[in-house]
């Protein structure tokens, strides 16, 4: 009838016999009123690195096809827009917007979906029952997703610069734009994924956020109605787009670039803090 009994039973376990035959190690609390010592928790940085490393390894299995999709989507948009815009400021914002769109796709959309799925399936229990600071889980995952965006964003920026004959001298600014806008959007994505009451809503929010980044980031701002341009100002990706667009100038206004990146950094701090709070809330229900 069964495959378990007797044969699957190690000789030491004697069901029904007196328990606690093992000798108590010295120094262990046995009484109910003497609290046992707590095991050491994981510290923030090592835990963050462990989460980051684990998340990065997922890229090999799960993320690479999506990274291709993100890059092709942005390159495709630039090819389409080549027939619409004719160089100048509009071309810059198209290239900058398409590049940052890769960041929005991965960091905001995919991370929102990941956390939404993790929460819905009960996967958060795994982290919640480990002595790890909530910020380590959120920051590690956000950092990994921001890292996923690096190749796609760089490829898009270079292809765009070639397509629209923009100078590539200052593309090194991507080294600041990707981590800062990545952190801001990943924090937003994580918070959306963790706060959404249902998994489908997390996915929807991620998709909407990405659509907003697409429409408000890629389309030239001058052609938009006033109301829409306010929405554009509220979207954190906008400041990454602006910073990158300014760097295509022959003599970039570095102060303005710095200000844009400063806004990204500020939003990143706020959104990551919100995501950490959302994680705590989601972990203990």
């Amino acid at each position: 009838m069964s495959v378990v009994p007797a044969q699957a039973r190690p000789s030491g376990i004697t069901g029904g016999s007196a328990p606690a035959k093992a000798a108590a190690p010295a120094g262990e609390a046995g009484g109910a009123d003497v609290p046992a010592p707590l095991a050491a928790g994981a510290r923030l940085f090592p835990a963050l690195v462990a989460v980051y490393r684990a998340q990065l390894s997922r890229a090999r299995v799960a993320r690479i096809p999506l990274l291709f999709v993100a890059t092709f989507q942005s390159v495709g948009i630039m090819v389409l827009m080549r027939g619409v815009v004719d160089g100048g400021a509009e071309a810059r914002s198209v290239v900058a917007g398409s590049s940052v769109l890769v960041v929005a796709f991965v960091a905001l959309n995919l991370l929102a979906q990941y956390f939404g799925q993790l929460r819905a399936s009960g996967g958060l229990d795994h982290y919640a029952t480990l002595p790890v600071p909530p910020s380590a889980v959120v920051l590690g995952a956000a950092a990994a997703y921001a890292s996923f965006t690096v190749p796609g964003t760089a490829v898009t920026a270079v292809v765009g610069s070639v397509l629209f004959q923009l100078p590539m001298a200052h593309l090194w600014i991507l080294a600041a734009v990707i981590p800062l806008s990545g952190a801001a959007l990943a924090g937003l994505g994580a918070a959306l994924g963790l706060l959404a009451p249902r998994q489908e809503l997390a996915t929807l929010c991620g998709q909407l956020g990405m659509s907003a980044a697409l429409l408000l980031g890629v389309l030239p701002a001058e052609r938009m109605p006033e109301v829409v341009s306010y929405a554009r100002d509220l979207l954190p990706s906008t400041y990454g787009v602006e910073a990158l667009a300014r760097s295509f100038d022959a003599q970039p206004d570095w102060l303005a670039v710095g200000a844009d990146l400063g806004v990204c950094a500020g939003v990143a701090v706020v959104s990551l803090a919100a995501a950490t709070w959302a994680y705590r809330r989601a972990a203990v229900r």
């Binding site: 039973r9 510290r43 399936s121 795994h126 982290y127 919640a128």
Partner: protein, 328 residues
């Protein structure tokens, strides 16, 4: 006592009907639970699906806040300080989503790191646990590429890595083959023998409960309806014999004595009847079904000494609930 639970109550609120999902009434998933688990015990929670086992375990691990009652683990109040649970116990949940896309080795090592071990200790423990559970050949494969039992075994490895005085395992051996089950129970037993580790185990597998548990709490509808050693529980129904009848087609209720048997059956599941009878009555019942015209309709019958499933029925557990108790 390693774990003391008093008056635990948890009610899931009623849900309004949404498109596609009907309304559900409020469920009292923990309905005044008292438990004491002693040090070094393998203590089991047995019951069918929906009995409230996982809800109870989630409150013991700080994942779910009870509405009322106290939970003390190793002297710590986990209702007031749920965050301490992670530093006291190792938990194996039912879901593996967090680890699914990692390789077995990385899942184990990362969990060890997050349990507070430094890089070197985490690698050493990873290798030791994987060796112990026979996971060596699978170490480079992603969890989601593995079969259900192999994936479960990898999750057990993650739960065992890093020393903890209490292990809470929610259906650890689901889907495993006998070799893997043996490895799991050997690993659990070794921790108990060497370090006095206490194990709290959720299972709906009756045979497993009878063979590996020191004590078992039988749960039904959010309550503990009995708590004793498996032998002690079975002694409650020791004067009875279990008779199982399986009919080829519709039972011949018009044959002499069969309708009366149907009346006294504890559980009727399609063409399978389960009866708990005194030995004399069991002999008479067997004579009835094998001697008369009913024999032609009989497909199979078994006589057995009672199992924990019979205890569950004798204690008034829902008859339909026994479908959730697995015997293999």
């Amino acid at each position: 006592m390693v774990c003391t639970v008093r008056g635990l109550v948890k009610t899931y609120p009623a849900a309004r009907a949404r498109r596609g999902t009907p309304a559900t009434p409020a469920v009292r998933a923990s309905d005044g639970i008292d438990l004491d688990v002693a040090r070094g015990e393998v203590f089991g929670l047995l019951g069918p699906n929906g009995a409230g086992k996982s809800t109870l375990v989630r409150q013991l691990t700080g994942l779910l806040r009870p509405d009322e009652g106290t939970v003390r683990v190793l002297g710590h109040d986990l209702v007031r300080h749920p965050e301490r649970a992670a530093r006291l116990l190792g938990y194996l949940g039912q879901d593996s989503t967090a680890l699914d896309e990692l390789t077995v080795a990385l899942a184990t090592e990362t969990t060890a790191r997050l349990r507070g071990l430094d890089a070197r200790a985490a690698r050493a423990e990873r290798d030791a646990v994987m060796e112990e559970l026979g996971l060596g050949e699978l170490s480079g494969r992603a969890l989601k590429k593995l079969s259900g039992g192999q994936r479960r075994l990898a999750c057990v490895a993650a739960a065992l890595v890093g020393e903890r005085p209490l292990l809470v395992l929610d259906e650890p051996t689901t889907g495993m083959d006998p070799v893997a089950r043996r490895a799991v129970w050997a690993a659990v037993d070794r921790r108990r023998a060497e370090r006095g580790v206490t194990v709290l185990l959720v299972t709906h597998n009756v045979i497993e409960a009878e063979t590996v548990l020191d004590r078992v709490a039988v749960m039904d509808r959010g309550r503990v309806i009995a708590c004793d050693t498996p032998a002690g529980l079975k002694a409650m129904v020791a004067d009875e014999v279990r008779v199982e009848l399986v009919w080829r087609a519709d039972p011949p209720l018009d044959a002499p004595g069969i309708a009366a048997l149907r009346e006294s059956a504890d559980a009727v599941s399609g063409r399978r009847w389960t009866l708990r009878l005194a030995p004399d009555a069991a002999r008479a019942a067997i004579a009835t079904v094998t001697g008369g015209p009913a024999f032609a309709a009989l497909d199979d019958f078994t006589l057995a000494t009672p199992s924990l499933e019979d205890v569950y029925l004798a204690l008034g557990g829902r008859a339909e609930g026994t479908q959730g108790l697995v015997k293999a």
